[in-house]
Structure formats: structure tokens, C-alpha cells
Amino acid sequence: MPENSERIDHAERPDAPRRRWGALVFGLCLLGVMAFYAWSVIEVSRSLTDYLLIVPAAIVGALAALWAGITDLKPPRGLMAIARPRLRDEAKPLALLVLTVLYACAAPFAGFDIATALFIAGALFVQGERTWWKIALAALPGAALITWAFTDLLLVRLPVTFL
């Protein structure tokens, strides 16, 4: 019993303000990407017009990203602290994100018909649907209908396996 109440206390206690290291890392990533891109363009450029926009823009963007990352480092206060999502609340979006990337990568090999059916089934499962016939009913005819509409109605030459 004491163990249980301790767990409840811990769950209900608001998290202590934490520094947003993730924001700084993202800001630094943006800075790195912009600097790397500008450098790669300068290396291959033949005249000033090749990087006339890119270099000044990259300098402004990189400095802005660095400043944004540094200012974001301080812990959020007030409503911002309450509204801030915690990583465990983002498990479903993260899983769906991974699934979307896998879908885009798998479609050329598996064909849009199969990849779409698997994606719809996977996305429904990730979002909490557990009734297998509902998943099957949405995934199979759903994927077939969309693929048919694109390939036969709109005459888009999608890579497909069966349709």
C-alpha cells in the first residue's frame, strides 16, 4: 500500500522544470546543416552568383538557429511548462512517423497496393485498434480502392504488385 501511494504521489507531482537540451541540439543541428550546405556550395562554385543567396542566407539562418537553441535552453515557465509534451505522450506519433518513413521506403519494392495495406493496418494498430477484422476491413479494401483510383481513374503509373 505505501508503495502504491508513493507511485501515485510521484505520478501526480508536477515535473521539476528541466532545461530543454533537445531544443539546443536541434538548433545546433540546423546550424551544422546550414553551415555544411553553404560550405559544400562554396567548394564547387565557379563564380560569386553560385552562392550569392546561399552563403548570406545560411549565415543568418545558422545564427538565428543558434540563438533560438540557446534561448530555448532555459526551462519553460507558467503555462508553457504545463503544455509541454512529455516523451512518453509522444510514443504513438513517433511510432506513426517511423511507419510513414518505412511505407515510403517500402512502396517501390513491395508495390503501393501491398505497402498501403500494410501501412493502414500498422497505423491502425499503432493508434490502438485491436479488432483484427476492423483492421483487415480498412486495410485491404481501403488500399485496393485508393490504388485503383490512382492507377485506373487518374492513370498514374504507380508501382503495384497485384492491381
Partner: protein, 503 residues
């Protein structure tokens, strides 16, 4: 300003050709459907149906294509409002407030407001075209690369500053968009940022990136929620709120006319078009509003500003198409193709020799705008049923349609991979409160900005004193500096004020 003999000839021409009217409603429906499917666009619809006009006479052919143009102009607003997916790049700003309105259960009002703004905007654009098609041709030729560059900087800076996050994040996000837009072969034939990949030679495709940043990231973010609108009572599908939104828009006619005027003016400038017009009009509406803080949170004025501007820019674009033979955007470029198919060349000579046909085209488009009201009303009523669908089912289907739609645009896996990549980037940006809108704007205006900067540099030889001989550029630059100073000052003042209140 109006040649009345040619005007009456135009009425006779329209009355004697029933086909010119028979093609209008199918054209509007095609435009609405293509505009509202994420990944497809007005230009795709016009390109797909261009061969169908081969056996038509010139007038019905152009009216059919402009009906697709008109329908598609509003069609893009439907997914922008209901799913935060701008069906076309011209509906980007519609999503800023349309989607928050939908989340609050005001989807009917937003769709009604967008429809009326679109109809009035189209009417406005073509009425202006009727009066200005002759005189404006000379004025447009005065805008050079330096003026266009300042217009591009205006667009980006306003969006970077006018966001709910910090200016630094707005700038970083906007610049990121610009840099992404420069990937691929440059105008001078240099390969940039492709890292040897054949798929990146043409650069990152803008529409798939836009769909990824806006739609995919939002759909991914919504995973785990039940419905688009949390409150069950607000998930209603009825004609009443659509009509209420339409009526409210008519009452706020000054905003509609302002958006329409901005759209027409920007539409007249070649190469800019509806994708910039909607953003500029939105920024102006937010800037001039008594409650700018409500923008981005479901203010119907934002929807009205965007839709009025993107629709009126069609008429503006037709000014340069007819008067100079220059297309203002992708849609008018396809119209130019249709002109060529019928052995017609736009320009001052075409206008002077065929004024009756020019007037017939304008009058036909004015009637199309009125018909859009009826066809669009039925269409938005059917489309608003989407709020009753569970998100867990809606999300995978929308993502799958977006993936296939972007494959249709690019013809390769670059489209779907761009959607996935941009979706992931957009999700991380949203997590750390970076405005994805600024990235999208940077992406859209980046090529124009680079082209105009290069041309300005080449013409001036890098000498800044060249600007002293460009009075329009100087006026635009001075206005930009003043507006930025006011915006930054009011922002800093507002922040200090709220900090004082919290203390």
C-alpha cells in the same frame, strides 16, 4: 477604358456558342475535386484536360480551362480547412486560420467564408481585368529584378516575424526553406547539395515538401486523438453554419475587397501568382487587424484574406497573359499552352485585334465565379462530413493518398520520400516551436529570390548605387524597413507588457 462595340460583340459571341456554357460546370467540378485532393493541383488538372480542348473552339476551350482554374482555386481551401493540408500552394495561408476554426467546430463557417471570399475575389479580379487589361500592360514592364527581389524578401520576413514563436525561430525556419529550395541544378548549371544522387538533380519538389511539412507532420502529431473536433456536439454537418460563414463574410466586405485588391495586384506581376498573393494578403490582414494575436488561432479574417487574394490573382494573372503573353504562374502557363494549341499568341496585338474575344473570356469568367457559388456550396457541404470520421482511420488514409498523390506529381519515389522526410522534419520543428509555415514560404519563394538576386547582381555589376536609379525598389525597401521596425517594436512592447502583467 471599355470598348463598347467589342463588348456587345462579346455578348453576341457568348450567346451564340452553347458549348462555351456547357463546359463550365464540369470544369468547375474537375477543379474542385483536383484542388481538394492533397498532392494533386490545379495545374495537374489543367494539364490532364488540356488535350480534351483540342477539338473545341478557342473560346469554349479557354473557358473550360479557366473553369478548372476557378474551381481549383477554391478546391485547395477544402483540405486546408478540414485537414490542415493546403490542396494547392495558393491555399497555404487558408490553413493558418481555417484549420484552427475546424478544430473548434467552426468548419462550416470557415468553408462558407472561404467560398464567398473566393467567389468575390474571382469576380473582383475579372472586373479589374475588364477595365485594366490595356493600360496595365505598360506598367508591369517597369518592374525589374530588384523590385521582385524586395517583394520576395517582404514575403519571407513578414512570415518570419508574424509567427507565434520567436523571430529567431522564424528566421531560422524561413532560411531553412530557402536553402532547401536551392538544392539541385542551379540556373547557371551548378549541382548543389545533391551529394551525387540522381533523384535530387531537379531539387526537392516543393509540393510534396509542403504536404510533408504541413499535412504529414500534423497527421503524425494527431496520432492518439479520437476525432478532428474533440467536442461531440460540434461535430455537426449542416448547411446552416456554411451559410452563416458566407453571410458573415459578405458583412465584412472591406476585408474581402482588400484581399481581392492585393491578390489582383500581385497576380498582375509575372512569376509571382496565387502562391505569394495568399501569404501577402494574410500578412496584411494580420498587420492591419485590431486583434493580430487571434490570427493563427481561428480568425475567419485570415481565411477570407487568403481565399480572396488567391482567387483574385487569377484575374490579375490573366492581365499579363492577355496583355503581354506572359504567364503569372503554372495555371496561366497551361492556358498559354492552350493559346498556342489554337494558334493564338497573347500580347498587345492579340488584344487590339480580338478585343471581342478578350471581353468574352472575361465575361465568361465572371459568370463562372457566380456558378462557383452554387457548385461550391454543394461540394463543401459534402466535404465537411470528414469531421465525423475517427482520426485513427482518417490519418492512414490521408497519408496514403498524399504519398500516391506526390508520386503522381514527381513520377518517382522522390515525392513520397520527400513527404516522409518533410513530415519528420515538420514534426520535430513543431515539437520545438519552429514555425513550419516560414519554411514552406522560404521553399516557395526561394527560387524566385535567387533568380532575381542573381539578375540584380548581373545588371548592377555588384554596385549598390544602382538602386538609387530604381525609385520603386527604394520605396518598397523603405516601407519594408518601417513595417519591420513597427512590428519588432510592438512585439517587444507586447512581451514586456505581458511579463509585467504576469509579475
Amino acid at each position: 477604358m471599355i470598348d463598347f462595340t467589342a463588348f456587345s460583340d462579346a455578348l453576341i459571341l457568348l450567346g451564340s456558342d452553347p458549348l462555351a456554357w456547357l463546359v463550365v460546370i464540369p470544369g468547375l467540378l474537375i477543379g474542385l475535386v483536383f484542388g481538394s485532393i492533397p498532392g494533386l493541383s490545379i495545374s495537374i488538372a489543367m494539364a490532364v484536360f488540356l488535350p480534351a480542348t483540342l477539338y473545341m473552339d478557342f473560346l469554349p476551350a479557354i473557358l473550360f480551362l479557366t473553369a478548372i482554374f476557378t474551381g481549383g482555386g477554391f478546391g485547395g481551401a477544402v483540405p486546408a480547412i478540414l485537414m490542415n493540408i493546403p490542396g494547392t500552394s495558393s491555399a497555404v495561408a487558408t490553413a493558418f486560420d481555417g484549420y484552427p476554426m475546424a478544430r473548434k467546430g467552426q468548419h462550416g463557417e470557415a468553408l462558407g467564408a472561404g467560398l464567398i471570399a473566393s467567389v468575390v475575389g474571382t469576380l473582383f479580379g475579372y472586373v479589374i481585368l475588364l477595365f485594366l487589361v490595356g493600360p496595365v500592360a505598360n506598367w508591369v514592364l517597369r518592374l525589374g529584378p530588384t523590385e521582385m527581389l524586395v517583394v520576395a524578401i517582404w514575403g519571407l520576413l513578414l512570415i518570419a516575424v508574424l509567427n507565434d514563436s520567436s523571430v529567431a525561430k522564424g528566421l531560422a525556419a524561413g532560411v531553412l526553406g530557402i536553402l532547401i529550395s536551392t538544392i539541385g541544378y542551379s540556373d547557371t548549371g551548378l549541382m548543389r547539395g545533391t551529394f551525387g544522387s540522381m533523384y535530387l538533380i531537379d531539387g526537392i519538389p516543393a509540393i510534396p515538401a509542403l504536404i510533408g511539412l504541413f499535412a504529414a507532420s500534423e497527421m503524425i502529431n494527431m496520432a492518439g486523438r479520437d476525432y478532428l473536433i474533440s467536442n461531440r456536439d460540434l461535430r455537426r454537418v449542416s448547411l446552416k453554419p456554411i451559410l452563416a460563414g458566407a453571410a458573415a463574410t459578405l458583412r465584412s466586405w472591406p476585408q474581402v475587397l482588400r484581399g481581392s485588391a492585393i491578390g489582383t495586384l500581385i497576380g498582375i506581376i509575372p512569376g509571382v501568382g496565387a502562391s505569394v498573393a495568399n501569404l501577402a494578403s494574410y500578412a496584411a490582414a494580420k498587420n492591419l487587424s485590431d486583434a493580430p494575436a487571434t490570427f493563427g488561432k481561428g480568425n475567419p479574417e485570415g481565411v477570407v484574406a487568403s481565399e480572396a487574394a488567391n482567387s483574385s490573382s487569377e484575374g490579375g494573372g490573366m492581365v499579363t497573359l492577355l496583355a503581354l503573353g506572359l504567364p503569372g504562374g503554372a495555371g496561366t502557363a497551361i492556358l498559354l499552352g492552350a493559346f498556342a494549341m489554337h494558334n493564338v499568341t497573347g500580347g498587345p496585338r492579340f488584344i487590339s485585334e480580338n478585343m471581342d474575344i478578350v471581353y468574352a473570356l472575361i465575361l465568361g469568367n465572371i459568370v463562372q465565379a457566380v456558378l462557383l457559388l452554387v457548385v461550391g456550396l454543394i461540394f463543401v457541404f459534402l466535404a465537411s462530413s470528414i469531421v465525423k470520421i475517427r482520426l485513427s482511420y482518417l490519418i492512414p488514409f490521408v497519408l496514403a493518398v498524399s504519398m500516391m498523390g506526390t508520386f503522381a506529381i514527381t513520377g518517382s519515389m522522390v515525392g513520397p520520400l520527400t513527404v516522409a522526410g518533410a513530415g519528420a522534419l515538420g514534426w520535430v520543428m513543431r515539437r520545438y516551436s519552429y514555425p513550419v509555415t516560414a519554411t514552406v514560404v522560404g521553399l516557395l519563394i526561394g527560387p524566385m529570390a535567387e533568380g532575381e538576386l542573381t539578375r540584380s547582381w548581373q545588371i548592377s555589376g555588384g554596385d549598390p548605387s544602382f538602386l538609387l536609379g530604381r525609385p520603386i525598389t527604394l520605396v518598397l525597401l523603405a516601407t519594408l524597413v518601417i513595417v519591420m521596425a513597427i512590428l519588432l517594436f510592438s512585439r517587444a512592447y507586447g512581451r514586456a507588457n505581458s511579463a509585467r502583467h504576469q509579475a
